[in-house]
């Protein structure tokens, strides 16, 4: 290695006698130099510097406000609201019982219809460029046939990677999960259970076979 003579000198002889002083003063001067540059810069450069500074200022203001909030703990001041109700009516939303009953009947009917039908809210289709990251390979990094998955995946316990030359889809080990937190809808308690397999991914059979878990995926 070539550039380690400074480090060697420091190790052998210690720092220069005025090193820390100089460092401190230089850093202190940076503030003024930065400001001078920002004021003197012309044209597009000046505008870019100004934009960057403004963004920093806005961010700083927000963090300060956040800290400010938590330091004082005032009791919540409830204002007297209109629409006073007596004690026996508090806590009651006035949905009519009839509607609630018909809703439960409809829910029961839906549940009876299909066992595998899970009440999935509208699932947004995931685009390919969001799901995969293009990996360049080859000596000149021109080949682009490899893809790396950017979402959580599940690979079975007996999984071994294909030889790197033939591997088209890479599933990084950092995004591989074996356990999932499952909440029972009626009991309202959460369990940490092992995943057995990915049953169906709504975005397509390719994703199902890859074992990628996105929103709306049915997992065993």
């Amino acid at each position: 290695p070539q550039g380690d003579y400074i480090e060697l000198h420091r190790k052998r002889h210690g720092y220069r006698h005025d090193f820390f002083e100089k460092k401190r003063k230089k850093e202190a001067r940076q503030v003024h130099e930065r400001s001078a540059k920002a004021q003197k810069a012309l044209g597009i450069k000046g505008k870019m510097i100004a934009k960057k500074n403004y963004a920093e200022k806005a961010l700083m203001k927000k963090t300060l406000a956040m800290h400010e909030e938590s330091s004082t703990r005032r009791k919540v001041d409830d204002e007297v609201q209109d629409g006073a109700i007596p004690a026996y009516l508090m806590d009651r939303e006035n949905t009519t019982r009839a509607k609630v009953l018909s809703n439960t009947i409809k829910q029961k009917r839906k549940e009876k219809a299909g066992k595998w039908e899970v009440p999935i809210p509208k699932v947004r289709p995931v685009a390919e460029d969001e799901m995969f990251k293009v990996i360049r390979s080859g000596k000149r990094k021109t080949k682009q046939w490899k893809r790396m998955v950017t979402k959580c995946t599940f690979v079975g316990p007996g999984f071994t990677r294909k030889p790197p030359k033939y591997e088209r889809f890479i599933r990084p080990s950092g995004l591989r999960f074996t356990k999932a937190h499952v909440t029972h809808p009626e009991l309202k308690c959460t369990f940490n259970l092992d995943i057995i397999g990915v049953k169906k991914n709504p975005n397509g059979p390719m994703y199902t076979s890859l074992g990628v878990m996105t929103k709306g995926t049915i997992i065993e």
Binding site: V80, A84, I85, Y88, M90, D91, R97
Partner: protein
């Protein structure tokens, strides 16, 4: 013993025995001529009981009231003459209350909805709490406002008089309780804090347990009930145990506190230490309201319809104790709870922790249950627009009143137990 009959002793006679509501017979079996009606029966009962004034009584044969002479009743119901007919007599209130047809006075003053009202136990004053955070005191003889008490920060949800009439406590949505002096309308000290959420109910300790009334219990949405001492101006005991809001609290006549809560249970607490004595389970949903058979007497203390004023606390305690014992009789205190699961339970908490009777029949949640002042009937108001009347001792269904077109929110009895008033969301009172 001369019994006056309109005609002579001709006609067939019936073998009858008079029993009081608890089952003990009064006098032996006797032959009564068939033209004997309720008036003559009253005379018989009065002489048998050796009452000095002629008290009015109502008579029931197998839970149906006897209004016509015996002969007509027998013909209509075809009761056999072989068996002894058992006639139950019930004392009625001596005074009569005139039914109200129209609003006698509209007293203006509150700027927002009136959320809770309470008559003073001696019947002279009325206190009302409202959404405009004030408590107003009204004089009933002149029907004019007396005082306006400000001091609460939020809606005044509950209000309660002490049974000796000396203190008034109101609870608000901010969880604070404020005591007032009803003679001057000024706050009697600082607000009592301790509850974290709004107050759902207040109940005072009965006069016959403690002569100058000092303690009361307040229930709140945060799930605990606190016993406060008004002379010390602080919370003495905190009864925590409910997991959800406490919706209703009542201080019973034997010195226990009943709390009904949204966690579907009713807990019975002991008052000196604040320990849980019993837990009454059985409801499937929130317990909305509790009612005690002796409630009227506990609330009014020593005052009754005669309008007498008492000077010393000991005298009040004695008179209140007499009234309480008379009201209670030999039977244990009864408790009725109404719930969101459309049913009500009748309990005898001193006897067992299982309910005695389950009163079903409502098609919507039961919002309010109320014993009649003499303890004979229980009325229940429900969101299914009906008011149902049940027997106060056995819990049997008696009648349903349909007439409201909106959910019925609250009920109230007249002091002589003859009239029942119900208020509903459809803005009418029936």
């Amino acid at each position: 013993m001369e019994v006056e009959t309109e005609q002579g002793e001709t006609g067939k006679s019936v073998m009858c025995v008079l029993t009081d509501p608890e089952g003990t017979t009064l006098g032996g079996t006797m032959y009564l001529p068939q033209n004997v009606g309720p008036i003559q029966l009253q005379q018989i009962v009065n002489t048998l009981l050796k009452n000095e004034e002629k008290l009015p009584y109502a008579f029931y044969i197998s839970n149906q009231e006897l209004l016509v002479p015996l002969g007509n009743y027998l013909e209509k119901n075809k009761v056999s003459m072989e068996k002894t007919l058992s006639i139950v007599y019930q004392p009625q209130a001596v005074f009569r209350i005139r039914p109200v047809n129209r609003c006698s006075a509209t007293i203006a003053g509150h700027t927002e909805a009136v959320l809770s009202v309470a008559f003073s136990p001696d019947g002279r004053q009325l206190a009302s709490g409202s959404g405009d955070t004030t408590v107003r005191l009204w004089d009933l003889n002149t029907q004019t406002p007396m005082f306006t008490c400000t001091g609460h920060k939020n809606w005044v949800l509950c209000i309660a008089w002490s049974p000796d009439g000396k203190h008034l406590v109101s609870g608000s949505k901010s969880g604070e309780l404020q005591c007032w002096d009803p003679q001057t309308g000024k706050p009697a000290g600082n607000p009592l804090t301790g509850h974290k959420k709004w107050i759902t109910g207040i109940s005072w300790e009965p006069v016959h347990l403690n002569a100058p009334c000092r303690r009361f219990v307040s229930a709140s949405k945060d799930g605990d009930a606190r016993i406060w001492d008004i002379s010390l101006k602080k919370c003495v005991i905190c009864l925590s145990g409910h997991t959800l809001a406490v919706t209703c609290v009542k201080w019973g006549g034997d010195g226990v506190i009943y709390t009904g809560s949204q966690d579907c249970t009713i807990k019975v607490w002991e008052t000196s230490q604040g320990k849980l004595i019993r837990e009454l389970k059985g409801h499937g949903h929130w317990v909305n309201s509790l009612a005690l058979s002796t409630e009227y007497v506990l609330r009014t203390g020593a005052f009754d319809h005669t309008g007498k004023q008492y000077s010393s606390p000991e005298e009040m305690k004695k008179v209140a104790l007499e009234r309480y014992n008379k009201m209670k009789g030999n039977a244990p205190e009864r408790l009725v709870s109404g719930s969101d699961d459309f049913t009500m339970f009748l309990w005898e908490p001193a006897v067992s922790k299982h309910h005695k009777v389950r009163m079903t029949g409502h098609q919507q949640l039961v919002n309010h249950v109320y014993f009649s002042p003499d303890g004979q009937w229980v009325a229940s108001a429900s969101f299914d627009k009906s008011v149902k009347l049940w027997n106060g001792t056995t819990g049997e269904f008696v009648a349903a009143f349909r007439g409201h077109v909106g959910p019925v929110y609250q009920i109230s009895w007249s002091a002589d137990s003859r009239l029942l008033l119900s208020g509903s969301k459809d803005s009418t009172l029936k």
